[in-house]
Assembly symmetry: C2
Homo-oligomer: 294 residues x 2
């Protein structure tokens, strides 16, 4: 199967799983379920679930039910986008080419929809995933710490917020991004590994892979914000500079940032050396993260 | 031990456990940990953890470690207060007699602090609680559904929000409050029951107890909003009427609402009939919920 066909098939698998875990639009209270679905089914690339599924494949080939566990990552990611876009935070009107959640449903409903997606992520892992209780507990622990304040996503958002307007600084930059996007991307790979029953060495290799593509992802994200148009991105371009965010291009320049992303891509590949062809999709995803145009 | 001494001792046990699970104020990123602690340690009555601990006591006497599981309820409750107080929702400046979280730390940090407390609740249940994996999974499932959109806390908040300005209506009123406050209060009792290893009949009796005190709690809350001053309540009084909320006094009148609260108190007592003296504290808590003045 070509990469393109594989991605389409996996995205469909994720969308189908998401549709099965989120209450239907008609279920009362309907407004919040509509708001949750509006943001969830807005054409996201599902990169986090795809990473989880590819990591599970690297460990144990075809792993039934992994797509349900993988959903929890998209629920967390989507809640963070909804809250991030709020006027009190990044105040963004456009996301994935459409008006943001609070623009359509109002700030109050957007706050509650984010809360609901976050809560649902744990409801899915505790109640919907078909796995042994020990495995479920490890999945939830990983998801909670990857999205938490200490080295996790929320911690990164706080640093990012507080870093606005500060002079470009390499140490702060890396600490922001290891947490803000890196922790959940690494968490995605780990969740796939845990679900598939990875051994300690595999878990550690895959964690390293996740760290490298996490960094690569953020460098490329910062570069796209500079180099692409809003139309291509489906979100407001040039916002980082406008908000005086600390970014890789701001600290290292554009050319060197490209070289850094390439280095992280290669390091991600090296982390998979002990894996055979079963890690082929993970390798392709590492390439995709660096070569993407949006 | 008198009820007063018992409450003080249990509140201290909860506060100590909360202090052990929330990162210290000095842990980076420090601002969010300060915001989380500001709202957590603002003199809350800890009614949800107390219910969990008393339910565990009813089932199995002294249950070590229950206070850690009980913390998760206070983390959820506090996140919901922080988000509820935001300008986009209830826009409240005063909570437990102090400026609300967003007044002190700003809207952005208050949103993130709420998200962080919600995330931490599941981190605590998955990573900190000393229980068998099967028990942890059940605790997390209960917490997630009690705080979710379908019959849970967030669902109740949505109905409450959408009910503002609608004509007083007994069916809507009860559906709002069963979800908005009732689900987490019943969830508190259930979390204590699950942790202590309750059998099916005990679990079902305690659930019924939880439903009755949940309703009693909300009726009394609505009555206090009408009958007490802001100073006594530590939050803005008279807000329900100002916001045209659907409340028990608005639907049933003050006198009849008092009688309803008393009925729920008695029904809560009856639900405990199969329990002996071990449920004594639960009985006292039911009385307290109805007789409280703030």
């Amino acid at each position: 199967m070509s990469l393109r066909e594989y991605l389409a098939a996996q995205q469909q698998r994720v969308d189908h799983a998401l549709d099965s875990v989120v209450p239907p639009e008609t279920e009362p209270p309907a407004t919040i379920h509509r708001a949750m679905r509006y943001s969830l089914f807005a054409g996201g690339k599902r990169i986090r679930p795809l990473l989880a599924m590819a990591a599970a494949e690297a460990v144990a080939g075809d792993v039934p039910g992994i797509e349900i566990a993988a959903c929890s990552l998209e629920l967390i990611h989507t809640y963070s986008l909804i809250h991030d876009d709020l006027p009190a935070l990044d105040n963004d009107d456009l996301r994935r080419g459409r008006p943001t959640c609070h623009k359509v449903f109002g700030d109050a409903m957007a706050i509650l929809a984010g809360d609901a997606l976050l809560t649902l992520a744990f409801e899915v892992l505790s109640g919907r995933v078909a796995a042994a209780p020990e495995v479920k507990v490890r999945l939830m622990e990983e998801l909670a710490t990857a999205s938490g304040t200490v080295g996790g996503m929320i911690g990164g958002q706080v640093n990012d917020l507080e870093g606005e307007g500060m002079p470009p600084n390499a140490t702060l930059l890396e600490s922001i991004h290891r947490a803000k996007t890196g922790a959940l991307l690494r968490g995605s790979v780990r969740i796939g590994a845990i679900y598939a029953g990875a051994g300690e060495q595999q878990y550690s290799d895959l964690s390293r892979y996740g760290e490298h593509i996490g960094l690569a992802f953020q460098i490329v994200d910062d570069l796209l914000d500079v180099e692409q148009s809003s139309e291509d991105l489906g979100k407001t371009a040039g916002k980082d500079a406008a908000q005086q965010k600390i970014t890789f291009p701001a600290v290292y320049g554009i050319e060197y940032s490209h070289a850094m992303a390439e280095q992280e891509r290669l390091a991600a590949h090296r982390a998979l050396d002990a894996f055979g062809p079963s890690a082929g999709r993970l390798r392709e995803l590492a390439d995709l993260v660096v070569q993407r145009k949006a």
